[in-house]
C-alpha cells in the first residue's frame, strides 16, 4: 500500500539562527528510513507526468521503485544513466516548477519529494563509494567542451559514456563553473561538485583548467590545430549588469558575481586568517534584486557577519523570481525584504566607501512585456537605508570572448549564441547550450541543454 500522507517527509535542516552564522549545508538530507517512507508516496504512475517535467528526462518512478525495494545501487544506476550530476540537481533544481509540479500527488496535498529522493540516492552512492563509470568502447572521436559548468559537465559526461574522447576547457583554476564560483557552500558543498567532476575524470574526460578559449586558443584552432571534430560551447553567463544608478563604483559595491566569487571560489568564507582573497567586512548590506543569486548573496552576507541584510526588490513578494524555498530560507535566517522598493543612488563616506542607499517606494501598474506588473515610482516616497555594502544582483550579459573570436557564429541582439532546438549553432560542428545561449537561467536547464547537445554531437559525428 502506498503511503497516502498528504505531506512530504520532512528533511532535517539546521536551525535558522544557527545556520545563518555558518557555511555548513542548510538541508541535511533524508535517512534511509525517511527516504523509504517518502518513496512509498510515489504511485508509480503508468504515464508518469513527472518525467515530462524533467529537463534531463530522469525515469523518476523507476528509480523511486528501487528505493522502495531497498536496491539503492539500482536506483543510482537508473538515476545516473539519465543525469550526470544527480547530487547537484537534487540540491539546486527548482523541482517545484518541474517534475514535482506535474506529480499527481500534488493535486491533493504535496507532490512526492522527488528532489530530496534524488539527493538521497546520489549521496548514498558517494558515501558508499558507488559510481556509474561504465562507458561504451572508445570510438576515438575527439570532442572539445568549453566551460565546466552544469552544461559542459553534462555534455562531457554524456559523450564520455558514449565512448567519445572528451576534453573540457575551463577558464578558471577549478572546474565546476557556477557550481564552484556562484552557488554557496551552504546550498551545494564544493566537495560534492569535486566528486562529480572526479567521476567524469574516471570516465576518461580530460579537464584542462586555466584555458580561456577565445584567448589562448580560438574555436578554429581547436578544429585545425588540436584535431577536435566537434565543439560544445557552455561558457555560461558573462558580465554582471548594474543598476545604472550613481555611486555604483564606490568601495563596498560588489556585483553579486564578484561577492559570491570572493566567498565561494576564493574561499573568503573561511575567514580572513585562512584566505588570501579579501572581502570587505560589512555591518549592513543591501542586495538589489530578487532572483536566486540575490538570495545567495544576501544569505552569504549574513553568514559573513553582517548584522542587517536587506533585499531591495522593486516588485512585490508574489513577483520574486527566486525559488520559494530560497526566499523562505532567507526570511527564516533574518534577511529583511524591502518589497516595492527601487534603488535611486548610493552615497559614499569621506573614504569613498558606500554608506547609504537612497530608495523610492514603488506601486504596481499594468503588466509589462514580461507579463509581470510594471513597478511605478510613488512620488515623494524617497527614503534611505544606512548600508556599508551594496550588492547589485541584476543578471548578466554574455561574455564576449568567444563570439568576438569565432567568425560565423551567430549571436542575438543580447549577445547570446543562437542555437537550434538540438543545440546546433550557425557554425558547422559547433554546438552550444546553457546560459551562453539562453542568458541567465537555471542549473538544470543548462544540464538539459548539455544533454541534448551531446545527443546531437553523437548523431553528427556518426553521420559525418
Amino acid at each position: 500500500m502506498p503511503n497516502m500522507s498528504l505531506t512530504k517527509v520532512k528533511m532535517t535542516e539546521q536551525e535558522p539562527n544557527v545556520r545563518n552564522a555558518n557555511f555548513l549545508e542548510v538541508a541535511q538530507g533524508y535517512t534511509l528510513e525517511q527516504a523509504k517512507e517518502e518513496a512509498d508516496r510515489c504511485l508509480n504512475c503508468k504515464n508518469p507526468m513527472c518525467v515530462q517535467g524533467c529537463p534531463v528526462s530522469v525515469p523518476i518512478p523507476q528509480f523511486i521503485a528501487k528505493i522502495k525495494e531497498d536496491d539503492l545501487a539500482g536506483a543510482y544506476k537508473i538515476l545516473s544513466n539519465a543525469n550526470a550530476l544527480p547530487a547537484v540537481s537534487g540540491r539546486v533544481c527548482p523541482q517545484e516548477t518541474q517534475c514535482e509540479s506535474k506529480c499527481i500527488r500534488g493535486i491533493k496535498g504535496e507532490p512526492v519529494a522527488i528532489g530530496r529522493l534524488e539527493r538521497f540516492v546520489a549521496d548514498w552512492a558517494r558515501e558508499n563509494g558507488v559510481a556509474n563509470l561504465e562507458t561504451a568502447e572508445k570510438n576515438g572521436h575527439r570532442v572539445a567542451v568549453i566551460g565546466s559548468g552544469p552544461a559542459g559537465l553534462t555534455c562531457a559526461g554524456e559523450l564520455a559514456r558514449k565512448g567519445y574522447d572528451v576534453t573540457v576547457f575551463e577558464a578558471l583554476h577549478v572546474a565546476g563553473g557556477v557550481l564552484s564560483y556562484g552557488i554557496p557552500e551552504f546550498r551545494l558543498p564544493k566537495e560534492i561538485v569535486n566528486k562529480e567532476v572526479e567521476n567524469l575524470v574516471k570516465m576518461g574526460v580530460k579537464i584542462e583548467t586555466n584555458m580561456v578559449i577565445g584567448k589562448v586558443l580560438s574555436i578554429d584552432e581547436l578544429f585545425e590545430e588540436m584535431g577536435f571534430e566537434a565543439v560544445f560551447i557552455g561558457s555560461g553567463a558573462g558580465l554582471p549588469m548594474f543598476a545604472r544608478i550613481p555611486g555604483e563604483s564606490l568601495c563596498g559595491v560588489y556585483s553579486a558575481n564578484e561577492y559570491l566569487t570572493r566567498i565561494n571560489l576564493m574561499k573568503a568564507f573561511r575567514g580572513a586568517e585562512n584566505c588570501d582573497t579579501p572581502v570587505l567586512e560589512s555591518k549592513s548590506v543591501a542586495v538589489i534584486g530578487g532572483g536566486n543569486v540575490a538570495m545567495d548573496a544576501a544569505r552569504c552576507a549574513k553568514r559573513m557577519g553582517a548584522k542587517e541584510v536587506h533585499i531591495v526588490y522593486r516588485r512585490g513578494e508574489a513577483e520574486l523570481p527566486a525559488r520559494k524555498e530560497e526566499v523562505h530560507h532567507a526570511m527564516e535566517e533574518g534577511i529583511i525584504f524591502d518589497f516595492l522598493t527601487a534603488p535611486v543612488s548610493i552615497e559614499g563616506d569621506e573614504k569613498g566607501r558606500a554608506c547609504k542607499l537612497n530608495c523610492i517606494k514603488m506601486e504596481l501598474g499594468e503588466p509589462d512585456a514580461s507579463g509581470r506588473r510594471r513597478p511605478i515610482p510613488v512620488e515623494g516616497s524617497e527614503f534611505a537605508i544606512e548600508v556599508d555594502t551594496v550588492i547589485p544582483s541584476l543578471g548578466t550579459s554574455p561574455n564576449p570572448l568567444i563570439r568576438s573570436t569565432t567568425p560565423g557564429l551567430d549571436t542575438n541582439k543580447k549577445g547570446c549564441i543562437v542555437t537550434a532546438e538540438n543545440g546546433a549553432t550557425s557554425r558547422n560542428a559547433v554546438f552550444a547550450g546553457g546560459d551562453a545561449s539562453t542568458g541567465a537561467a537555471t542549473v538544470i536547464l543548462a544540464m538539459g541543454a548539455g544533454k541534448t547537445a551531446a545527443a546531437s554531437i553523437d548523431e553528427y559525428l556518426r553521420n559525418k
Partner: protein, 284 residues
C-alpha cells in the same frame, strides 16, 4: 618542462624580480599590452600581471613584479625549476599599436616601466619613432635601462630627486619635449594611477590622444565578476575584457584610485603576517 615552471628567476632590484614561466600556448598568442593571472598555491589569490615579453621558441612568458604584498612575496620565494600553481592568459585586448601614428611618446613610471617596455618595443619594431620616458624615484630603483634603450628611438631617463638623468617626473620630461617642438601623434602612459592622471591632464592641454593601461583590482579576470569596472566616458567598462588599455582622457581616475585602496588594511595585515611567518622560519 612542466606546466608553469619557472625557467629563469632574476632579481632586478631588491624588491623587483623578473621571472620567465614555461607556458608555450600563452607565449605563442600573447601580444604587447596583454596580461596573465597567476596563483602561487592551491589557496592563493588570483593576481593579474602584465606580460613583460614572450619567447615563442622557448615557450616562455616573462613577468616582472614588485614585492608589494603577501602574494608577490610568496611568488618571490619560488625558485627556478619550481612551478606556479596557476598561470592563465593571454588576457585583455592587446595595445592597438597600429593606430598610434608615426611618432609616439611612451611614459613609464617606476615598476610601470616593465609594461611600458614591451609596448615601446612593439611600436619600435613596427617602425614608429618612439620616445620612451622612464621615470623612477631615484637612481637605485632604475630597471631595464639597457633593454628600454634598445626598444625605442630615444630614451629619456628621469629621476624624481635628480640623481640620474633628467631631474623631475616623467610628466615634466614629456612637457619639456612638447615645448621643444616634438609633435607626438599619440602618448602612452603606464605607471601609478596618479602619474597617469597627470600625464592625461597634460596631453589634454596639447590635444594628443592618450592611451593608459589600467591596473584595477581583479578577481576572475575573464569577464565574469565585474570587479575591474572602470568608468570611461560615463560608461561602465571592464578592464579584463574591454581593456586594460583605455582612452586616458575619458577615464575617471579618482574613482579607480579610491577603489584600488579598498583592501589596503587587509593587504597590509597579510603582508605583515607573511613576513612574521618567514622570520619565524629563520629563527627556528
Amino acid at each position: 618542462m612542466e606546466k608553469y615552471q619557472i625557467v629563469l628567476k632574476k632579481p632586478l632590484k631588491p624588491d623587483i624580480t623578473l621571472m620567465e614561466i614555461y607556458a608555450p600556448l600563452i607565449a605563442k598568442k600573447a601580444k604587447a599590452g596583454q596580461f596573465i593571472i597567476f596563483r602561487v598555491d592551491a589557496d592563493g589569490e588570483r593576481v593579474p600581471l602584465t606580460i613583460a615579453y614572450t619567447d615563442k621558441e622557448r615557450g616562455v612568458v616573462a613577468i616582472i613584479f614588485q614585492k608589494v604584498g603577501a602574494t608577490t612575496l610568496k611568488l618571490d620565494e619560488l625558485n627556478e625549476g619550481e612551478c606556479l600553481h596557476d598561470f592563465v592568459g593571454p588576457l585583455g585586448v592587446p595595445t592597438e599599436i597600429e593606430k598610434m601614428g608615426k611618432k609616439v611618446a611612451v611614459v613609464g613610471g617606476g615598476a610601470g616601466c616593465a609594461i611600458a617596455y614591451p609596448i615601446a618595443k612593439a611600436l619600435h619594431e613596427a617602425g614608429v619613432e618612439v620616445h620612451l620616458i622612464a621615470g623612477f624615484r631615484n637612481k637605485d630603483l632604475i630597471i631595464l635601462e639597457e633593454e628600454m634603450g634598445a626598444a625605442c628611438t630615444e630614451l629619456h631617463m628621469c629621476t624624481d630627486i635628480g640623481d640620474y638623468g633628467f631631474h623631475g617626473f616623467g610628466t615634466d620630461m614629456l612637457k619639456k619635449l612638447l615645448d621643444e617642438g616634438h609633435k607626438f601623434d599619440h602618448v602612452v602612459a603606464i605607471g601609478p594611477l596618479m602619474m597617469m592622471k597627470f600625464v592625461c591632464k597634460l596631453t589634454k592641454q596639447y590635444d594628443i590622444p592618450t592611451t593608459i593601461s589600467m591596473n584595477p583590482i581583479m578577481v576572475d579576470g575573464t569577464g565574469m565578476c565585474g570587479c575591474c569596472r572602470v568608468t570611461v566616458g560615463g560608461e561602465t567598462k571592464f578592464a579584463c575584457v574591454d581593456g586594460p588599455d583605455f582612452d586616458g582622457h575619458l577615464v575617471d581616475f579618482d574613482e579607480v584610485i579610491a577603489r584600488n585602496n579598498s583592501y589596503k588594511a587587509f593587504e597590509t595585515a597579510k603582508k605583515e603576517e607573511h613576513i612574521c611567518r618567514l622570520r619565524g622560519k629563520t629563527n627556528a
